[in-house]
């Protein structure tokens, strides 16, 4: 897209893997990108669940602990609501309510983020801990990086931690 060089920048750290918080992160990210800002989303810890290629539950990893964690956390389809989760029923109900009010669903927001050229980066350290490789992530993940890269890229940017 043909855009001026002096663009405003926003970096969003997606730490939480909660459904509502990830929706908030992607809403800010897509809104910012659509209003001419350069956006980077840096996913770490629980946030990585939103980037897994397998959107359901899968025993990813080598060790028993990593497999257990990855299976229990699941992927994009299993993100819990931060409050009133009720064993995973609430995110489904919330999805239905969002649809009823013409609010974009989480997969639609992820697709929009990609279409808008938002840079999606996954945290190397958290991937090591959870034994999740780049091949386990969706293709939209452009880079696997650490905090130094994130800070370098976020110079002169607003940083939002979710």
């Amino acid at each position: 897209m043909d855009l001026p060089a002096d663009k405003k920048k926003i970096s969003i750290v997606c730490f939480s893997g909660d459904f509502d918080k990830i929706v908030a992160a992607f809403t800010i990210a897509t809104g910012a990108a659509a209003t001419n800002r350069e956006v980077t989303m840096f996913f770490t810890f629980w946030g990585l669940n939103a980037l897994k290629k397998n959107k359901g539950r899968a025993a990813t990893g080598n060790s028993i602990m990593a497999k257990a964690f990855n299976f229990l956390m699941g992927g994009l389809d299993n993100l819990p609501l931060s409050r009133l989760n009720f064993f995973g029923i609430s995110p489904k109900l919330m999805g239905g309510m969002m649809k009823k009010h013409n609010v974009a669903s989480l997969p639609e927001l992820v697709e929009a983020a990609h279409a808008l050229g938002i840079r999606i980066v996954a945290c190397e350290m958290a991937m090591h801990i959870l034994e999740v490789g780049k091949s386990d992530m969706i293709e939209e993940v452009q880079d696997v990086a650490g905090v130094a890269t994130f800070l370098n890229e976020s110079e002169n940017a607003h940083i939002i931690f979710i």
């Binding site: 809104g31 990108a33 659509a34 209003t35 001419n36 974009a104 639609e108 929009a112």
Partner: protein, 74 residues
């Protein structure tokens, strides 16, 4: 060539997102008509288009209450 986009059924942030993506698809010099609701979209879509260097040629209320038609030139 004139293009058309109706964002009256969209909510934030897809109102901006759809306009941005549509503008990216069309050629320079072409026009895009956007049907939008009063309130947040009307306040911010024209402003954000101008910030991105696009020209808002007109912004008129339609016969249907609460809706406006924008004409943007890329």
């Amino acid at each position: 060539m004139k293009h058309f986009l109706d964002i009256t059924r969209e909510t934030c942030p897809m109102t901006f997102v759809k306009v941005k993506l549509k503008l990216a698809q069309i050629n320079k010099g072409e026009q895009l008509e956007v049907l939008l609701n009063e309130g947040e979209p009307l306040q911010n879509v024209p402003r954000s288009c101008e910030e991105q260097g696009y020209k808002v040629l007109s912004n008129e209320p339609t016969d249907e209450a609460g809706k406006h038609m924008l004409v943007i030139e890329k």
